[in-house]
Amino acid sequence: MRVTQPSDSVPLSLRSLAARRFGAVSWVGFAAWIIVIAFLLLAVFGPLFIATDPLRQTPGALLPIGSPGHPLGTDNLGRDELSRLVHGARPLIGIALLSTLFAALIGTTIGLIAGYSGGWIDQLLMRTTDLVLAFPSLLLIILLVSVTGAGPFPLVTGITVAMAPSFARLVRALCAREMARDYVTSATLAGTRAPRIMLVEILPNLTGPLLVQVMTTISVAAGFSAGMSYIGLGIQPPQPDWGYMVQAAQQFIYSQPSLIILPATCTLLFVVACNFVGDDLRDRFDLRRDL
């Protein structure tokens, strides 16, 4: 007779499906994944489903939540808050993802070359990295953005420069560890050239820690993006952006707190969820290492 597994009796929920495919998932990790995926879907597809123009001003300013036609109310200029929230996801998440992508590419390249080469190349690259790392990230971004002028592209550049060094450091350390393993020696003996050793032999062995770092960086970059928009150096009005929306709603903190709470909560949720996804990934890769 077949012994029923405990998992068989559990109704087929999304979490148990995920667990079947990806292994045991903690509730926090699972919720974090769902939130991050939901935000990504919102950023990509959300604006397609919102008919209301986020820039269109209507006569009814500061309408409360649940007003007819404006489920989340309107801001002081009578713009639909729901539409602004949905459209505001794109700049924040887009900037976070793009700058993380560039930071990961640049940092990983520097780290691989430094870790593989050693010697003076390593010293040169890592001391340069230290130089950038010596600046507080936010100050560095403000410095760069104030030179180039506010806007999404300067912001991406600034966050990339601020975030790349931590990738370089991480990858260099991981790469140096891999260099001591025989498969790298074996690749040298096989006549594999340096760029191929770095990309085909070493890099695939770094994916675990690298992915964790990517998720952490996305959350930090999202925070920077919101912060920069908040102080007026990021996304410029009237474009909807969560960071800027919090700043604009400050004067209505008593009359209409939802105008602050909604964008601030969205930012916070995304940042925290990214971090927990990073933690979940770390748990998984740590386990795999030991196997």
Binding site: R181, D182, Y183, T185, S186, A187, T188, L189, A190, G191, T192, R193, V200, E201, P204, N205, L291
Partner: protein, 349 residues
């Protein structure tokens, strides 16, 4: 004894220095004839692995030259070395660490062929499957990753990779010491069969004299970065010349009742391997040698040929009983006591 062929690989005056002070390999002269299997033996830290890697230019030599098939590879550029390495490969000690866990074993075996012989991906993979069969695995396993295999199977994969570019010369660095005893014999036999079939020249690094006796055609004993004795296998096992070789060989358990086995007195070396950063003056073995005299403390013995094909670095080799007798007389007058306790165990201070 055996007919000497011109050496495929020779090293002269080869030294490897770490951190400017530690000489891991000190002025080694070595010739490896085509088709032979030379075993490098010695205890941990004697520099045998470093020497093996230096022969493949995996360690930078601080002095000396390495000639392979008539080419001075110690002076080759990076590009030249890359192509030369098609003919010289290595089997590693750790069969897990030497296989990239993220690549399929087909890709792992095909890599040397693609890189050094310029073979296309498809052809290299086809050859990788053939090689898998040759080392006793199934060609259908080519898509699997290293962690799906046992230690012995992984070492077979390592051997297949080493053979992929059809090299002429292989360094096997303790290829079985990480394996279960039950698997060691299979891997050793495989390595032996393949060397014979392919007429491979091999440097076999090991501290296990039982394995060496089975594999090697010639034996070189290393102590503290120097070669102290080179002999044909049978000569070596019949009677080692260097006191260190004698001690090594006496530590091999003898088969009871095997008439061919020379029953040896157990010699236990006392003390540790001296610090390689500050090797003893004179003969490097003098701190642990039973026969050491004042001469050994001051004058470094040269590696000299005492009979055809037999080299020893000792003032008083075993084949010179008169010399040892003289040395014994010397020692009795020596204020430093060398305690020699007879049976069952002779200890050497």
């Amino acid at each position: 004894m055996n007919t000497r062929r011109p050496p495929l690989l020779s090293a002269s005056g080869l030294s490897v220095t770490y951190g400017g002070s530690v000489t891991a390999v000190c002025e080694v002269d070595l010739e490896v004839a085509e088709g032979e299997t030379l075993a490098l033996v010695g205890e941990s830290g004697c520099g045998k692995s470093t020497l093996g890697r230096a022969l493949l230019r995996l360690e930078p030599a601080s002095a000396g030259t390495i000639t392979f098939a008539g080419t001075d590879i110690s002076r080759l550029s990076r590009a030249g070395l890359r192509l030369a390495r098609a003919d010289m490969q290595m089997v590693f000690q750790d069969p897990m660490g030497s296989l990239n866990p993220r690549r399929s074993i087909g890709a792992i075996i095909a890599e040397p062929l693609r890189q050094t012989r310029g073979v296309s991906v498809a052809d290299a993979l086809r050859r990788a499957r053939e090689l898998l069969e040759r080392v006793g695995l199934s060609a259908s396993m080519a898509d699997r990753r290293p962690h799906e295999f046992s230690g012995g199977q992984r070492q077979r994969i390592g051997i297949a990779r080493a053979l992929a570019s059809s090299p002429r010369f292989i360094v096997a660095d303790e290829p079985v010491s990480a394996l279960d005893v039950s698997v060691q014999a299979q891997v050793i036999n495989l390595l032996g069969d393949l060397t014979r079939q392919e007429n491979l020249t091999m440097v076999f690094i090991s501290h296990d004299l039982g394995v060496v006796r089975h594999v090697a055609t010639r034996v070189a004993v290393m102590y503290l970065g120097q070669i102290v004795e080179i002999a044909d296998r049978d000569d070596f096992f019949a009677g080692p010349e260097h006191p260190y070789s004698e001690a090594l060989l006496s530590a091999v358990p003898a088969l009871r009742g095997d008439p061919s086995e020379v029953v040896r007195e157990r010699i236990v070396l006392r003390g540790e391997l001296p610090n390689p950063a500050a090797p003893p003056a004179g003969c490097r073995f003098n701190t642990r040698c039973a026969y050491a005299t004042d001469l050994c403390l001051t004058e470094t013995p040269a590696l000299r040929e005492i009979t055809e094909g037999r080299m020893v670095r000792c003032h008083f080799p075993a084949s010179d009983p008169d010399g040892r007798a003289v040395a014994a007389v010397d020692r009795d007058e020596d204020p430093i006591e060398h305690t020699a306790i007879s049976s069952p165990t002779k200890e050497i201070a």
